[in-house]
């Protein structure tokens, strides 16, 4: 009997069009993804080391398709397939036919369940099949490896199958027992909550392993086990079903089976007839109406019916209230609200983590990070409710009753629209109130109700546009479910497809907001408020036009088909209706035309692809001038007038250009920001002496001049320029954030530069190949003597004299590097004259804002912090960090070249801090609002750390600067990291460093998995963050440990003294490393090779550990540890090399204090690992808890987590293998240091 039911049902399912529609949706989506990976579409190209048809890529696609809104689509489709397998018998009242037949429970239940399950598997297999076929388009291209069926099959079996089983079982059971699909749909929302909460929680490293097991769909587990996979691993390995992933899959498949069997045992034919319900209905009192006492109908009171315009409004108001209360009383609404609130509270706990340090819950943070997901719920709710309310009358069979009442379509339709908008408003208010409660609950009392109000008003406008389109579409469609799908088109799918194809004109991206900038405490919503209103007017009028067209076919009677409905409704298409339609059209057209004028006439829209082509054209045209010798800037004297309220800047400046070459120069190549519609206007660019124009290319910003009188070696000329920055109108979707109402921040990149500008070239080698350009190394080789004639931050200057006058509006303070010479007021404006007394790099910035100032002093150095009022939280930490830094750096590296340190807050349009000479612009989002938990030893004091890093740059970048070659960031970024680490260690102790370094190790290991070109050894690093910051921190801290702090600092200081303020050729990392090598004893020389010259990775692990208690009450520990050493190539292909290295081993006791376990060192010894595995024995006084090798992760380790192990269990076997490599072995870069 099972077979009959199963096959019958399966046949039924495969007869339904919906099965193929779902299959088709998935197929097309993944086909597009596959073709996109295969490079079929004509979009910009970036470099990658990854192949797109590896098991890891396929797994990533499968898991990714289950995330976010797409995950929701998956769930909804699965509900449609699986949830109703049994429930449909009830819905269509066929259950008596089945239940009275002599079939067993098992064959009925499993027949139904399995046929639905197999249908679901078929539908979801489209995701893999589509992607496979899409990938086939890329055969032969480097982005595709060899096609292995297993690469596609295995992720399908490991992820998709169990997930379908799990969700399917849940949906099936929930629907079968409640006889209603609503619980299943609600569960979809809950899943969304689980997903978003999980992804927030895992920002903290500590939670990752746990989340890998508990997250139901294996996404976290996949991420966890592949987190440190190098590009080579990712391309060649299968997904190993082991560790966290195995446990996760077993656990959730087990749960799925459990749910299935539990519901099987609970299921009974009779119970099914009485749905399981949480809310028991009260016993209905069936009152029998008493005998009729008919009154005469003529006794009915006479009433007056009024049909004036005024009454229409009354009806509208009444109906809006009615619809509103229907929606807000629905279970769906209440549950969404409750879920949203709960989720906001959960996510707020993990808000804005940088290095695991939370930020203060400032209002914009709440609105962006916490309320973001809630908004997503609102969107779901709008889509759902728009269908519900438009179809309510027809579903409840009230359509004929309502249809014959003398109420206008307009009132019926707009009452629903208004009610939907009101419901959205209520949800937004819920967000605001919850947000404020979160702030107060976190003891943050700077609540800004007005800002909440502004934010929710903006969201309300946006949602009412979405609501309008959804509700209008529901009027047009012949059924509700098709309406849901159609609603998702403008709201979601179209935008996804447009962005894949790089169609990015906001005129056709539904509900676009135009150029936008984030809210900033300093600058509020800035200058985009007007354009925002314009775009919203544009979209709202379009939506209203669609609504009014929908009104013409508003379903009032029984007619089906748009034509018949129009015939029925056309009588109401009167003059007023036509007028309103015309007004909306006029508004849409004029707003659209104005937008078009701004974005396409005043500016041009540049797609990434066009930008590529422009870069190619620039290179082809001007590359030949790269070697044309140019004079160098030796002095800058610049006058800048900032008009914040007009967002206008005018610059009058002059450079002194000196011929530092041996021959006379006659050609001047000037480079500036070109473009047909640039906001920067270079009104003057000319040397003081006469010159003839050779080229004046405004498109690419190039001006070439032939000097009348050649510039003799050693001579200088003055070069004058004038710039007018006046943004005209607005651009398509971006806006300049340099010059704003409050918080202007720009640097000398916008000033003209001298000579060809190679950074403007196309950098992606895949793209260069496409355009027939030669491959371009990311950076010049470390010993390239020509490249070393420039620093890595400037092509046209060495050290310059700098003087500037800057003016701004009366209420603002304007700042540039240098010492304030004079400050005055003139014509309601403030002027500041700054001058540097020592040479600086050609790298300076201008800022202007309404600042508060905090001043302090360290010895003779003035410390000033210019900050936004209200952001006082961490000023003391910053000042303390500056003082401690100055103290440590002057003592260990050499004197500070300036007499002041200034920190200047700027709006959060960028989130970095950047060190200019004695001037440190510091984003409001980093550090200023960080909330440092002083009680928790392990939490990192982020403002303290960032400040120390930036102060260190005054030595490492502003005193010593490497040439424009590989590895130069070692002497700036890595050294600033090291310097900051040392200041932190002095302040917070060694223990506090552990967590910081753990994060650095994690970021390095993760960063190298995402390398798109090639990973390089530290000393050859090509501006790769994960190497020069994260690996650099670990390595320098470890080097300090091996050499000793003083030895290392002495070496650093002697290097610094030799090269600081040097003229070209500039130093390089080879020279730097030679100082380190010199300071290293012979027995340790190998570490220099391991750390700087090669990519060396260890696999250090505990093989076995145990202890016995001795008669004296002590503990005898036996510890067997192993160490494998690898050299890694540029894509992470490893090869083993023998290990004979010094490393730590340790035994630890655990002191539990107030629930926190603190490790206590019992033994920490440096030993030499000269065999792959070694056993050690120790006698310790206290009961040991854990032990291991390199317990503090001083060495780069591919699995840092298994270096120590707890006593009492045997550690798992560690895979120390390396796949045999066919090509050349490890790439060891040996560079001789001969200069």
């Amino acid at each position: 009997m099972f077979k009959e039911i199963f096959l019958f049902d399966l046949k039924q399912n495969f007869r339904k069009p919906q099965t193929y529609i779902f299959f088709g949706i998935f197929f097309i989506l993944t086909l597009l993804l596959g073709m996109l990976s295969a490079g079929v579409f004509n979009v910009a190209t970036s470099d990658t080391n990854l192949v797109m048809n590896s098991a890891n890529s396929v797994a990533g696609i499968i898991v990714g398709l289950n995330d976010g809104i797409l995950g929701l689509v998956n769930s909804v489709i699965l509900v449609a397939i699986m949830a109703t397998a049994i429930q449909k018998d009830y819905e269509y009242n066929t259950h008596p036919l089945f239940f009275t037949k002599p079939i067993t429970k098992g064959s009925y239940f499993f027949g139904r369940f399995l046929s639905a399950f197999f249908t679901a598997v078929f539908v979801f297999s489209a995701q893999v099949i589509g992607y496979y076929i899409g990938c086939l388009f890329g055969i032969g291209k480097p982005v595709m490896g060899p096609f292995e069926l297993m690469n596609f099959l295995q992720p399908f079996l490991v992820f998709m199958l169990p997930n379908i089983l799990l969700l399917g079982a849940i949906f099936f059971s929930a629907t079968t027992f409640t006889r209603n699909t609503l619980p299943a749909y609600l569960f979809c929302i809950i899943l969304l909550v689980i997903r978003s909460v999980t992804s927030n929680i895992t920002a903290d490293l500590e939670n990752k392993a746990a989340a890998a097991i508990w997250e139901p769909f294996g996404a976290e587990a996949l991420g966890y086990i592949t987190q440190y996979w190098t590009p080579d691993d990712q391309n060649t390995k299968m997904i190993p079903l082991e560790g966290q992933l195995l446990y996760n899959r077993l656990l959730w498949t087990g749960i799925a089976l459990l749910i299935t069997f539990l519901s099987f045992f609970r299921f009974s034919f009779s119970q099914f007839l009485q749905p399981f319900s949480l809310f028991k209905r009260k016993g209905e009192k069936q009152e029998q109406s008493s005998a009729i006492q008919l009154h005469s109908l003529s006794l009915l009171p006479r009433v007056s019916q009024r049909f004036s315009g005024m009454e229409n409004f009354r009806q509208l108001g009444y109906l809006t209230r009615f619809e509103f209360s229907k929606m807000t009383k629905s279970a769906f609404f209440i549950i969404i609200c409750a879920l949203g609130i709960v989720m906001m509270f959960i996510i707020s706990q993990y808000m804005g983590s940088i290095y695991d340090t939370e930020t203060y819950p400032v209002t914009y943070q709440i609105l962006e990070s916490v309320a973001g997901i809630f908004q997503f719920f609102i969107m779901i709710l709008i889509v759902f409710f728009s269908g519900t309310i438009i179809w309510r009358e027809r579903e409840q069979k009230m359509d004929e009753l309502i249809g014959t009442t003398p109420v206008s379509n307009t009132v019926l339709f707009f009452s629903k629209y208004l009610a939907l908008t009101a419901v959205t408003a209520v949800l937004l208010v819920v967000i605001a109130v919850t947000g404020m409660l979160i702030q107060v609950s976190m003891s943050y009392y700077h609540v800004e109700p007005l800002l909440y109000l502004k934010a929710i008003l903006r969201m309300l406008v946006s949602f009412s546009i979405i609501g309008g389109i959804c509700i209008a579409l529901q009027v047009f469609t012949p059924n509700k479910y098709l309406g849901f799908f159609l609603s998702l088109l403008p709201v979601m799918f179209i935008n996804i497809i447009f962005s894949l194809l790089e169609w990015d004109n906001d005129l056709y991206i539904f509900n676009s907001s135009g150029p936008s900038m984030p809210y900033s405490d300093m600058n509020g919503y800035g200058h985009t408020v007007g354009t925002w209103l314009l775009y919203k007017t544009y979209w709202l009028s379009i939506v209203l036009i669609i609504c009014m067209l929908a009104l013409l076919v508003f379903a009032r009677g029984k007619e089906k088909g748009l034509k018949a409905r129009f015939r029925l409704s056309r009588t109401s298409f009167g003059a007023k209706h036509k007028l309103a339609l015309a007004v909306c059209m006029l508004m849409a057209i004029s707003a659209g035309a104005f937008i078009f004028y701004n974005t396409n006439v005043l500016h041009s829209i540049v797609t990434p692809k066009q930008a590529e082509e422009d870069a190619v054209a620039f290179e082809k045209k001007y590359k030949k001038y790269e070697r044309t010798l140019q004079p160098r800037i030796v002095a800058s004297n610049i006058s800048v007038d900032i008009f914040p309220e007009k967002r206008n800047v005018s610059v009058k400046g002059s450079y002194y250009l000196k011929n530092k070459h041996a021959a006379a120069l006659d050609t001047l190549f000037i480079n500036y920001m070109g473009g047909d519609n640039s906001d920067y206007h270079y009104t003057r660019l000319e040397p003081e002496t006469g010159a003839r124009m050779l080229i004046d290319d405004k498109k690419y910003g190039v001006k070439m001049l032939l000097l009348d009188k050649p510039l003799a070696p050693g001579d200088s000329i003055r070069f004058d320029f004038e710039i007018d920055y006046t943004p005209k109108g607005f651009r398509n979707n971006s806006t300049g954030t340099e010059v704003v109402y409050n918080g202007t921040f720009f640097n000398n990149m916008v000033f003209p530069s001298i000579g060809y500008y190679p950074d403007a070239e196309l950098s992606s080698n895949a793209a260069r190949k496409k355009y027939g350009l030669k491959e371009k190394p990311r950076m010049a080789p470390v010993n390239d003597s020509l490249a070393r004639m420039n620093t890595y931050i400037s092509n046209d200057a060495d050290w310059i004299r700098f003087e500037t006058t800057v003016s701004t509006s009366e209420n603002q303070i304007a700042i540039a590097p240098g010492y304030l010479q004079k400050e005055w007021k003139k014509d309601g404006r403030r002027y500041f004259h700054y001058k540097m007394d020592s040479p600086i790099l050609n790298f300076y910035s201008y800022l202007s804002a309404e600042y508060e100032i905090r001043k302090d002093k360290w010895k003779d150095v003035n410390i000033e912090i210019y900050y936004q009022k209200g952001h006082e939280y961490n000023l003391d930490r910053m000042i303390s960090s500056i003082k401690k830094s100055l103290e440590y750096f002057t003592a260990n590296f050499g004197p500070y070249q300036h007499r002041q340190v200034r920190i200047l807050e700027f709006p959060r349009y960028a989130s970095f801090a950047q060190s200019f000479p004695n001037t440190i612009p510091y984003s409001e989002s980093v550090g200023f609002i960080a909330k440092v938990d002083d009680k928790n030893q392990e939490k990192i004091d982020v403002p303290f750390y960032i400040t120390a890093h930036e102060v260190a740059h005054q030595w490492w970048a502003h005193q010593v600067i490497g040439g424009n070659v590989q590895g130069s960031v070692l002497m700036s970024e890595t050294m600033s990291q090291y310097s900051a680490l040392m200041v932190m260690e002095k302040q917070y102790g060694k223990q506090a460093m552990k967590k910081f370094l753990k994060y650095e190790m994690d970021k390095y290991l993760t960063g190298r998995t995402m390398e798109t070109k090639k990973e390089l050894p530290l000393m050859l690093c090509e501006n790769q963050d994960y190497i020069h910051y994260n690996k650099g921190s670990v390595i320098m801290y470890s080097l300090k440990d091996y050499l000793g702090e003083q030895v290392l600092n002495n070496a650093l200081s002697s290097y610094l003294n030799k090269v600081k303020f040097q003229e070209p050729p500039y130093t390089n990392s080879v020279e730097f490393v030679s100082y380190l090598r010199a300071a290293t004893p012979d027995s340790l020389k190998y570490i220099i090779t391991d750390m700087f010259e090669t990519i060396t990775i260890y696999e250090n692990y505990v093989k076995d550990l145990s202890y016995t208690k001795t008669p004296e009450g002590k503990y005898k520990v036996s510890l067997t540890v192993g160490s494998v050493k690898f050299r890694s190539d540029s894509v992470g292909k490893n090869s083993k090399i023998p290990v004979a290295d010094y490393m730590d081993i340790g035994v630890f006791a655990g002191n539990t204090m107030k629930g926190n376990t603190e490790e206590k060192e019992l033994v920490l010894q440096r030993i030499k690992m000269d065999k792959p595995e070694k056993t050690f024995e120790f006698i310790v006084d206290e009961k040991p808890v854990s032990a291991g090798i390199d317990p503090y992760n001083k060495l780069i380790d591919r699995t840092p987590g298994n270096n120590t192990w707890k006593f009492g269990s045997k550690p798992p076997k560690v895979n120390t293998d390396v796949k045999e490599t066919k090509g050349p072995g490890s790439v060891t870069v040996t560079v001789s240091s001969d200069d």
Binding site: S290, Q293, L297, V303, F307, R392, T404, P406, E559
Partner: protein, 289 residues
């Protein structure tokens, strides 16, 4: 005031001819529209009630051109469709108020007065706080009539209102209707002959989109007078009779089949004449040709 329907036709997209050149003129009082399922009654009702447009023809109520001035008609229309439901979880008093607003009774005081009076009238006042969706069939129909009576309608259309009601409820409903019929035009569509017999001043019989018969019930009876014959036959002979004569109805009695036959004269001696009832009129009309 008269409702005049002239030359109204309607063909559905699937080719079904629902209304075939209907001409009617209906005055004050109960008007019965009798016909089997699928005769086109509901289509005609909906067309009059502005819920559908005919392909051609015209409908006027007094000075109102129904097809062009839909909203004018709606102001004076009470309509109780054949198949209807209510919003869940809304009480009778609230729902009736809802309809009152839709009908333009915007004065709160008046509205409350009429709502209470109508609930009283339809004997639902005691149950006014209960949700209409939980009402029994009879109560729902009475509530339906209450909403149709809102706002002094001059034309009331009720489409198969007594289907599924128990005899007592049906009786009650008839009483209610017949009183309404004294004041305004009431069009009652039904396939139950008794409804028409008890209530209607005038009636038509409709089948396959065409009006087969029009008149007062007594005029209708006149048409079959002396032409209905009855016979007990054996169950399996029915088909022979069907081919031989116009068998208008048959029902079982004590294991035998009793058939009624329409014929000018007795087909043979075994047939006995019967007094034609309205039911016989109905059946003879719809089994013609």
């Amino acid at each position: 005031m008269q409702l005049i329907i002239s030359n109204v036709s309607k063909t559905y997209p699937n080719g079904l001819k629902a209304l075939n050149n209907i001409n009617l003129s209906i005055g004050k009082g109960m008007f019965g529209l009798l016909g089997p399922n699928g005769a086109g009654k509901s289509t005609l009702m909906r067309t009059i009630a502005t819920l559908q447009d005919p392909d051609g023809g015209s409908i006027t109520l007094g000075t109102i051109d129904v097809l062009k001035q839909k909203n004018e008609l709606r102001k004076t229309l009470g309509y109780l469709p054949q198949d209807f439901g209510f919003y869940p979880k809304v009480s009778a008093v609230n729902l009736l108020t809802h309809f009152a607003v839709l009908k333009g009774i915007t004065d709160k005081g008046e509205r409350k007065e009429i709502v209470d009076a109508l609930l009283e009238q339809t004997n639902l006042y005691d149950a006014r706080k209960r949700n209409v969706s939980d009402y029994s069939g009879g109560m729902r129909q009475r509530f339906g009539i209450a909403q149709a009576l809102l706002g002094n309608p001059k034309l009331i259309i009720v489409d198969e209102p007594t289907a599924g009601l128990d005899p007592m409820e049906r009786n009650r409903f008839h009483n209610l209707l017949s009183e309404i019929g004294e004041q305004v035009i009431v069009i009652l569509s039904t396939h139950i002959v008794d409804d028409v017999k008890n209530l209607c001043k005038r009636m038509v019989v409709m089948n396959k989109g065409t009006i087969m018969l029009e008149g007062t019930p007594s005029e209708a009876l006149e048409t079959v007078k002396g032409k209905i014959w009855r016979k007990h036959i054996n169950k399996n002979e029915i088909n022979d009779y069907r081919t031989a004569m116009q068998v208008i109805s048959s029902h079982m009695s004590d294991g035998n089949l009793i058939i009624h036959v329409y014929a000018e004269n007795a087909p043979d001696n075994s047939f006995v004449p019967v007094d034609g009832s309205l039911e016989d009129v109905y059946f003879s009309t719809i089994t013609k040709n």
